[in-house]
């Protein structure tokens, strides 16, 4: 079981501001779903855990790509070829 405080903490980690009035409903649904996930406790650790997959790499060669103007076109605001973001400090 997770508490409303836990859910608020997860929301903060996920950068989501939840309306105060909805925290209770979110928490109840969260617990319903987590309870359903408990069936995974019955899964035995087996040798099947790994995969035989491997990564596909290619050479890191420069090829034609988006222009700076195209790359900035959807940004809210840009300056000197950079995207403006909220301040960090």
């Amino acid at each position: 079981m997770v508490s409303e405080k836990d859910v608020q903490g997860i929301a903060n980690l996920a950068d989501i501001s939840l309306p105060a009035g909805e925290l209770g409903a979110f928490t109840a649904q969260f617990n319903d779903i987590l309870e359903y996930f408990d069936i995974l406790d019955s899964v035995e650790q087996t040798s099947a855990g790994g995969t035989d997959l491997y990564n596909i790499f290619r050479e890191d060669e420069v090829t034609p790509s988006l222009s700076q103007a195209d790359a900035l076109a959807n940004a809210g605001e840009s300056e000197d070829g950079y995207i403006k973001a909220p301040r960090v400090v």
Binding site: N12, S17, Y36, G49, R87
Partner: protein, 433 residues
């Protein structure tokens, strides 16, 4: 030479988020044919929202690989179809742009998340559409709206330009009125792409062949006809399998024991991947902009709280939780073992039979608002998610009605044997004529 298709169909089911009334097209096998594209697939110069208000106004600067292939084949992109936000839903009720209705009964959902693509095809606005399928999002709406939809083998279609929700599960795939249409569209979109490191060079060049059903061994898993499956739907699907038998196939019982936890493994995996993938939506680089008046995290929390829908927020948070220190072993790690078991089950069964058949969905399309609680909605995906976990191809083809609503027959095949899945569906479809 570029020509223009005037697309004047009326959108009475809210199947589209964006409509292109004057659609350009060129030469090729699809010359002049209108194709609807799900709105999580990037189209250069055409708004692409993935059904989310957080991407409202976003105009991609490039085409998804499949869209480039469509254009090279002469297709006219007539619009971007409605969907559950980022593909998260089974009804298209979770769209930020209002729900799509089911053309068979407008009081019912069209299924999801590719509900707009299915409604556009079922209503005759277009006869071809692209959808995406993470846990059933092509097959579910195909089943609910009475059309054909194929989730290809994982790796067969490039995901370059697809707005990522759950990379290890999702595939783009074709939807259409007939198996032949779906097969033809599959042929156009299946070319190898170096942009997607999971793209496998196995082009689909195939013409459906009904004769392939002769001597075909069909596995019928007990779990696909068990608890939670509407007996009338089960009966319709058993009748459909009977038709395949009358055409020369042999049906044998089988079991997929890992179905017991497949749905939980699926939801842990997709929410975990979503929590990472959707962290890029912050109102800075694309979509409605943040005001930049507050600090970094406060600004992001505000816009993500306002523009993401409730289900998307819920899934991001579930994934954040499942990946967090202290819970990772209980949820994510266990889900990956479960997933490997599902894959092993399918490989075992498919070493004994050629294809597996069962219902696509446990029941026919439900009414709007009927599954307002998320868990009850998730349970509707029980028969579709296993194919995504295993990475195998699966098609839904209409097989009669229950309560005047379409039922879908699901046919699942071996990895990279999409052709046999298509042939089996084709044999069924033609066998009724």
């Amino acid at each position: 030479m570029t020509q223009i298709l005037s697309f004047d169909a009326e959108d009475e089911y809210n199947a589209f988020i964006t409509i292109c009334r004057e659609a350009e097209y060129g030469e090729g096998p699809l010359a002049g044919r209108g194709v609807a594209v799900k709105d999580n697939i990037s189209t250069a110069g055409i708004q692409t929202t993935a059904g989310s208000r957080i991407l409202e106004g976003y105009i991609p600067p490039y085409d998804a690989h499949v869209v480039g292939l469509l254009k090279s084949a002469g297709a006219a992109i007539v619009g971007k179809t409605n969907m559950d936000e980022f593909g998260m839903g089974t009804s298209t009720e979770n769209s930020g742009f209002g729900p799509t209705t089911n053309p068979c009964d407008t009081n019912r959902v069209p299924g999801g998340s590719s509900g707009g693509s299915a409604a556009a095809v079922a209503s005759g606005m277009v006869d071809l559409a692209l959808g995406t399928d993470t846990g059933g999002s092509i097959r579910c709406p195909a089943s609910y709206c009475g059309i054909v939809g194929l989730k290809p083998t994982y790796g067969r279609i490039s995901r370059y330009g697809l707005i990522a929700y759950s990379n290890s599960l999702e595939q783009i795939g074709p939807m259409g009125q007939t198996v032949s249409d779906v097969s033809g569209l599959m042929e156009v979109i299946s070319a190898y792409d170096f942009h997607d490191s999971t793209s496998y060079n196995a082009p689909y060049t195939h013409t459906p062949n009904a004769a392939a059903v002769e001597g075909l061994k069909i596995g019928v898993p007990a779990e696909y006809f068990g608890v939670g499956v509407d007996p009338a739907v089960a009966e319709a699907v058993r009748t459909a399998i009977g038709r395949l038998e009358s055409l020369g196939a042999e049906a044998v019982p089988c079991t997929i024991p890992s179905m017991a936890y497949a749905l939980a493994a699926y939801y842990v995996t997709c929410t975990s991947e979503a929590s990472s993938n959707l962290s890029r939506f912050d109102g800075v680089r694309f979509g409605p902009e943040s005001g930049r008046k507050k600090m970094w995290h406060d600004e992001f929390r505000g816009i993500r709280g306002e523009k993401f829908g409730r289900e998307v927020q819920q899934r991001i948070m579930l994934g954040t939780f499942a990946l967090s220190a202290g819970y990772y072993g209980k949820y994510y790690a266990k889900a990956q073992i479960a997933r490997a078991n599902v894959r092993a089950d399918f490989e075992r069964v498919l070493s004994e039979v050629d294809v597996i058949c069962g219902p696509t969905m446990p029941a026919v399309a439900f009414a709007f608002g009927e599954k307002s609680d998320p868990l009850s909605m998730y349970l509707a995906d029980i028969l579709t998610v296993p194919a995504n976990l295993a990475g195998v191809p699966a098609i839904s083809v209409p097989c009669g009605t229950v309560d005047s609503m379409p039922v879908g027959l699901q046919i699942i095949g071996r990895h990279f044997e999409d052709e046999l899945v298509v042939d089996t569906a084709f044999a069924y479809e033609q066998g009724g004529n």
